[in-house]
């Protein structure tokens, strides 16, 4: 076994050195140009795809050479259990990937930590482990694709699709990557048998193979639906492509300009002030509150929502947030040396949550910056060299953005909009700002359903229009609606109009991912959300599944079960296995039926023996 392991390392030694060198070169070049530790998620995704691809190519090539009939026989026909032979080959692959994917990351991170004043947190070092695990998943998926029966060899790709889709962060993400890795390893070990292509027999092996296969079939089904939608678009009657959207639908509402949207909401108003409000809409300039934070940072996450750094152009210092110290670390833009740390207030206290710079506003002095984290808005005062909290929303709310609304400041959280008197903004030392008005987002929709927030200033307050149509095309979304709220100078909030907006897509199309397989749809959602922190920005208030959609799902499951009952009769299965497959089709539907067809081949029929022909008698034993 040790000999095999060494032989495999020797086999790929040259390639490993070359790829590691290239990787180091790329990282070395990039780290001279940018701060690799502050790159956003998309950059890490690109690296992850590269690692997965390199691993996949290694698995495909390594096992592809071995799976030729003569070579496979030579490899496995020896006094070594197949599992040990596999372990030797896979261990060599792991070492090669550690050398090419993980080691260069550690080298560059070590250089950055030791030779620069840039922030290098523990989470950055964990990127090496993440890269190795992603490469390992690609490697094992490629190996499985080569070794497994062609009918289900692509099942390993499901795990590669899961990796970028999971919402878990930090150590939780690493743990889930390990789960994917171990599952793929189990699949490869199951496939690593003398009889290549033999289907799994024991129930445990069948389960391990069937579950990702069924999810793969379900994903292919979703892709097919995507194709159907593309054809619909090409055909020209797709709701998003119509030159004139259907009246009263959510597309129409989304395409209206701000003023027209306000007027459309007022058209349904029974308020006695409706006419006066329409006149003011025609005269006023619609405004909105920018949402600078579309994704929230979390402590210990491996990637970044966006660079957690900003530059103080007055002091010539770059401040970068460190997850380890929960403070801002300074780096002089003049000589690249460390320039101190910054916490909250005079005590330099640690920030309670990671903060992100959200840009400047006109009321800020030169060099100042606004930071947001949790429910608090912070202001970096360049002159004082200090960070002070300026606005603190109620506990449990998340500050998502601020904008100037004329002379006032508007703030947006996941639960409400706020108006702050602009006269209070100039003096950072004045302490926390108190909002003049709090406008709760009108339910039942949640922040994830909100597609638009527009307001105008009235003589005596503001008029808000809240549109909840973001996921009107999706089962996740609340039934679309629009609400108009009016506030006065006393802070009172009054609903002046509420109207339901029509669906532009029929229910069967909106719920296509659900009725195709309710169980798989749920599994997919849970797989994405597994071990992930709650995401208030994506929270929605989904409508109950319509009755006719449920009936369709039940009918599809029944059809799949009937087809399975017919199919299992032709298969060499015992009755418990037959019953289990039919039950799976009832529960999971067509993905289970397709997996039955792929995993359990029909028996190879052999005709009866030909007419008896004289059989030559075996010669006498030739042993001396």
């Amino acid at each position: 076994m040790w000999d095999l392991f060494k032989a495999e390392l020797l086999r790929f030694r040259g390639w490993a050195i070359g790829i590691a060198g290239l990787h180091l070169l790329v990282l070395g070049f990039l780290t001279r140009v940018v701060d690799l530790g502050q790159q956003p998620w998309l950059v890490h995704l690109a690296f992850g795809i590269a690692y997965g691809a390199v691993g996949g190519l290694l698995g495909l090539y390594q096992m592809g050479v071995y799976r030729r009939p003569g070579t496979w026989l030579n490899l496995l026909h020896r006094p070594l259990a197949p599992a040990r032979t596999a372990a030797a080959l896979l261990a060599a692959g792991a070492v090669l990937l550690a050398f090419t994917a993980a080691l260069p990351v550690l080298v560059v991170a070590g250089w950055q930590a030791g030779m620069t004043a840039r922030v290098v947190d523990a989470r950055h070092l964990l990127l090496a482990l993440a890269g190795l695990q992603i490469a390992g998943c690609g490697y094992l998926a490629g190996a499985y694709a080569m070794l497994a029966n062609r009918r289900h060899a692509a099942a390993g790709l499901v795990f590669l699709a899961w990796l970028p889709a999971m919402n878990a962060i930090g150590l939780a993400a690493l743990a889930l990557q390990m789960v994917a890795l171990l599952w793929l390893l189990a699949l490869v070990m199951l496939a690593f048998q003398p009889d290549l292509g033999a289907p799994p027999r024991r129930w445990g092996a069948v389960l391990l193979t069937a579950l990702p296969l069924q999810m793969g079939v379900y994903l292919v089904l979703l892709l097919l639906w995507f194709g159907v939608e593309m054809l619909w678009i090409m055909q020209g009657s797709h709701p998003n492509n119509r030159a004139v959207p259907a009246p009263g639908g959510h597309n129409e509402l989304e395409r209206l300009d701000d003023r027209a949207r306000l007027l459309a909401g007022l058209a349904a108003s029974a308020s006695p002030d409706a006419q006066r409000l329409r006149e003011q809409v025609a005269l006023s300039e619609p405004m909105g509150i920018a949402q600078q934070l579309r994704l929230l940072p979390h402590t210990g996450e491996l990637t970044n929502v966006k660079p957690m750094a900003f530059d103080d152009t007055q002091r010539r210092v770059r401040w970068t947030f460190s997850h380890d110290s929960m403070r801002l670390q300074g780096l002089s833009l003049v000589d690249g040396r460390a320039a101190g740390t910054l916490g909250v207030g005079a005590a330099n206290a640690a920030f309670p949550v990671p903060v992100l710079p959200i840009g400047r506003q006109p009321f800020l002095a030169q060099g100042d910056e606004l930071l947001a984290g949790g429910n608090t808005l912070y202001q970096y005062d360049s002159l004082a060299g200090r960070v002070m909290p300026r606005l603190q929303l109620p506990a449990g709310e998340l500050l998502l953005g601020v904008s100037m609304l004329g002379a006032h400041l508007g703030a947006l959280s996941d639960k409400a909009a706020y108006i702050i008197d602009g006269r209070l903004l100039r003096n950072p030392g004045q302490g926390l700002l108190q909002p003049r008005q709090r406008v709760p987002l009108p339910g039942p929709g949640r922040f994830g359903d909100l597609s638009d927030l527009t307001l105008i200033e009235l003589v005596d307050g503001h008029l808000f229009s809240c549109s909840f149509t973001r996921f009107a095309h999706d089962p996740r979304g609340v039934p679309p609606y629009q609400v108009l709220l009016r506030t006065d100078d006393a802070g009172q909030v009054q609903e002046v109009a509420r109207r339901a907006v029509g669906f532009d897509y029929p229910a069967l199309f909106r719920y296509r991912a659900w009725w195709s397989s309710p169980v798989m749809s749920e599994v997919l959602d849970r797989a994405r959300a597994l071990l992930a922190p709650p995401d208030a920005l994506r929270a929605t208030h989904p409508a109950p599944v319509p009755r006719d959609v449920k009936l369709l799902a039940a009918a599809m499951s029944l059809l799949a079960a009937l087809a399975a009952a017919w199919r299992v009769r032709q298969l060499p299965l015992r009755w418990p296995a037959r019953a289990s497959w039919v039950a799976a089709c009832v529960l999971i539907g067509w993905p289970a039926l397709v997996s039955l067809w792929l995993l359990v081949p029909a028996e190879e029929g052999v005709d009866a023996a030909p007419e008896a022909t004289p059989r030559p008698a075996p010669p006498r034993a030739l042993v001396a």
């Binding site: 006094p79 023996a609 001396a624």
Partner: protein, 312 residues
Amino acid sequence: MNDSLFTPETPVIHTAGLCKRYGRKLALDHLDLQIPRGGVHAIVGANGAGKSTLFRVLLGFLPPSAGSATILGRDSARLRPQDRARIGFVNEEHTLPGWMTVAAVTAMQRHQYPGWRQPVFDEVIGHYHVQPAQKVSQLSRGERAGFNLALALAQTPELLVLDEPTLGLDVVAKRAFLESLLYSNAATDGRAACTVIYCSHQMEEIERVADNLIILERGRLKHMSAPDDFRARVTHWVADIPFKAPDPAQVPGLLEQQQLDGLHHYLVLDQDDSFGRFLRASGARSVQSMPVSLDRAVNSFLAQHHAAPIAA
């Protein structure tokens, strides 16, 4: 079956009703085969006769479609690592890891096979100009074949399966290979001689090494006996027939028929002097019979059902 049931009388290979189907084609067709222990057993057959498929089923690398197969008393589908240590296999590809050196491959085999005998390896490899530091990819085809054979023989297997091992080798390499095989198999050093299954299309090799001749055709067993016994079954008759020759369908045991220079040549199976009387009765003026070479006997036996282009 367990090892204690594997006695000298137990066949080293035993198949019962063995079938293997590839789509519509039956590569092995209810094959009943028992190969006794000891000696060199040659398996011959046309392309597609099922030889390689048989070996892959016997070694557990292909599941049968029906029937059973045992090798050294063990179910082929359940061979354990210690069973594989007793079976050597050399095929025509001589697939060895090209990136490894001869010494590294030898060391790996030495570590893995408990029955490894270095003197046997040294003796066999001595027939070839192979350096330990050479990479396997740098060896010629003949050297790789010899190296592969040395590795297989040094394992001291109880059963050695050679599937067309001299394919593509030149005359000198072929000779060296056969001599190594014969010499090594003859030298016992106090251990039991191994049973050799030798699969080849080269009749001169078969004649040289085989104690037992097994003929497969279209996945079925057609013949098993000593080579000379099979050769004796086929006779070559030459007849001078001035008028119309007998209809080939009426000729008993006909394997092959040719007309050369006005004489009719018949290769027939299992015919005695009565065939001469048949020819005379069919109008032959003179009749003569003679024995045939093993090569001709086997080729004519296999050619009788071979596909042939439709005559223009």
